[in-house]
Symmetry: D2
Subunit: 245 residues, 4 copies
Amino acid sequence: MKTINVTVWSEYPHGQSRDDHKKAYPNGLHEVIKDFLEKNKGLNVKVALFDEPSIGLSDEVLDNTDVLIWWAHVRHGQVTDEIVAKIKNKVLCGMGLILLHSAHFSKVFSAVIGTSGRLNWREASEKQRIWTTCPSHPIAKGIPETFVLEEEEMYGEYFDIPRPDDVVFMGWFEGGNVLRSGVTFTRGAGKVFYFQPGHETHKTFYNKHIQKIITNAVFWAAPDFWFKDISATHEKLPYEIIKEK
Amino acid sequence: MKTINVTVWSEYPHGQSRDDHKKAYPNGLHEVIKDFLEKNKGLNVKVALFDEPSIGLSDEVLDNTDVLIWWAHVRHGQVTDEIVAKIKNKVLCGMGLILLHSAHFSKVFSAVIGTSGRLNWREASEKQRIWTTCPSHPIAKGIPETFVLEEEEMYGEYFDIPRPDDVVFMGWFEGGNVLRSGVTFTRGAGKVFYFQPGHETHKTFYNKHIQKIITNAVFWAAPDFWFKDISATHEKLPYEIIKEK
Amino acid sequence: MKTINVTVWSEYPHGQSRDDHKKAYPNGLHEVIKDFLEKNKGLNVKVALFDEPSIGLSDEVLDNTDVLIWWAHVRHGQVTDEIVAKIKNKVLCGMGLILLHSAHFSKVFSAVIGTSGRLNWREASEKQRIWTTCPSHPIAKGIPETFVLEEEEMYGEYFDIPRPDDVVFMGWFEGGNVLRSGVTFTRGAGKVFYFQPGHETHKTFYNKHIQKIITNAVFWAAPDFWFKDISATHEKLPYEIIKEK
Amino acid sequence: MKTINVTVWSEYPHGQSRDDHKKAYPNGLHEVIKDFLEKNKGLNVKVALFDEPSIGLSDEVLDNTDVLIWWAHVRHGQVTDEIVAKIKNKVLCGMGLILLHSAHFSKVFSAVIGTSGRLNWREASEKQRIWTTCPSHPIAKGIPETFVLEEEEMYGEYFDIPRPDDVVFMGWFEGGNVLRSGVTFTRGAGKVFYFQPGHETHKTFYNKHIQKIITNAVFWAAPDFWFKDISATHEKLPYEIIKEK
């Protein structure tokens, strides 16, 4: 089995100044994600952080990433257009992309998906029930028909996304809202998964089902196929086609 | 403006022996649907009932139908395969099809959509909140972001449907369930809309938003284009193409 | 690695009375398909033929099939509705289905896909060029950007199918036609692949790219997940959901 | 009938220095497009050109555009990211977008669609045959099953696009290539149509079928619904939803 190189990117230490975030994730939620992923044979997991040089995503790091996990919240505007273009090109060439929670409003989301990612929102620590709406999908492997998160931030419809490939999960919130909570897209050779749960003050990333979903998504998004450079200008076709005329 | 011929088909008088159905719809719910549709200029609405000859759907009736509305509940098994094949062929040729509520389990649904239509279910007269998840869709015209039905039967995920063209509405139930409540499909030249609300003991079809949605769906599903006979065996291409070789 | 049970179904000995078919496939094309599939570790391949009892597809055979390959041509009408319903139910529960060539006009195709499968047609032994239009798809693994079949029957657009999940291959014909030649669908838990090449008088199934595509499709369509019985009537939800209300 | 405001944007006078372009379109191809569109009641057509201030697309122009037609070729890199972001936001809010020919490689295409738009290419003035692959689509209204352009530039698969909503047209080239030539996408409330024919040295835009397709596309893409500002940060929900909890 080929090793899959996973890079977990986070805005850390944003939020660490807030007691409620520190309480939920003393070392940042990226460390929790790294920890449960690393338990899987075949995954080589590294962390990249906003405050590192090149926001942790140098060419070398990106060139050694098969699947990029993106947890972002309030610093979307500080990510440069250059790095966004580089990530988008990598996705089109084959790199898997897993967008978590507030990443729906990141520049990367909009550049790759094509829409705004706009949704309704309420920070109310309310109960969310998640339903598996595509039980045969690899990302749903081992996930029950439904499970509960006792506390999440509410993200609800209307969610501005194009028709997804699959709606793997849907969310129900006790306050009266619903969301297409787990949706997949294909862009070039790259597989993309957006997954809504994961507010920084709730213990979501300790939930075993959430961990299983993200783990499944990593294996699903890992590329079998890479384009060399999809953004290169189009080229004349090889001779054997031209001569057919 | 061309007149649109609408046929409202129902299992009536099924259920009329039950007091709760008679209370909600003294003359059958099809009459309520006919009434609100008829208020629209350009719609010519007729009713067809299970207990009529050919279950109300003779060749002549079908040949004069632009949009067929199908409300069914417990007599699915009594609809013959012949009439199902005829309806399916008409849809592929262009006839619009609006499947209401329990029609998810009808033979027509499975033949046209291709799946079982299986879903979870609970008869509990509970509150349903509907969300508009595709606000720019013609079927959502004039519908608010969200509205409430005080009492509905619960239909919930997992709903066995293929990837729909659009998820126009999603449903939230107070008991903890969600559903892709309003979904569209294209089959041949025909447009198909499945819409979940409409239990026979609840006053759903009197709700102004429900009426508007079904009315919108009729105008959306009305065909501009008809195939002559899509099921006819394939034909040799006309001469001008063949000679190109 | 789990063994995948593959059943190759064919109309054989239809066509064997014709010299041109016997010349291309002395023992029937199903034997050629069986032969190249069997070279793959992990595939357990059996043949089922129209002229066997229950057209070769008893309950026992179907219950031991992970992926069904369907090559049919002119005897579509003789396949009973009962066996079609049984196959459809198996697909919805998870069985993979690979529909080859004239299977576009089979009852199984229409029941599972939902449309007529109508297309244009010309029997002219003309050159077909196939293009890979989804190079990152598992079915396209190892397939070049384009390759040629020196002789095929022409199947061309308009092809009456719903929006496919993916158009993996497109076909160009020297006579001036095009086709979405390799298309995928999801129905319930089942994966479906329709692939156009494979006329009984041409040597298509000896082509190494065609063999690779069908082999890839078998591995892709093999189920990881089965529903117990998707067509069973819907059931009341378990208690823990109901009590939430 | 509401008037539809159409803005035809072009790189003109690029190419006008070349004799072959001047020969085909003495005043630029945008003038030909404007002319045939203007013959339709209900269309108010204006031209915007690259060499005008703000490349012809000031806020005032965009605010008065219902459908934007984009013909671009070699100056993609000179369009600023600011104008691209503005156009994308307008599309998400509802503005129709029709991308012609080399616009597949424009910044607008990639920002809205999400992929690179990469395709194969050969400038060979070869014959193209176009097939209508979705005859019931409004853009195909009045278009025959197939028609020929005697001379076009070859654009062929693999075409790097996400799964389109509909493949309305497919192209066959005498040199052996195929393309999904006319494809639709939905992004936010905006409808998008990419259409491949239209090289500046060929008389494509004088073809009556091409004119009809672009005209149909304008009526199809004209918005019935606008979001106020889809890119605005998400907002707390109104009180009546929150209190439900």
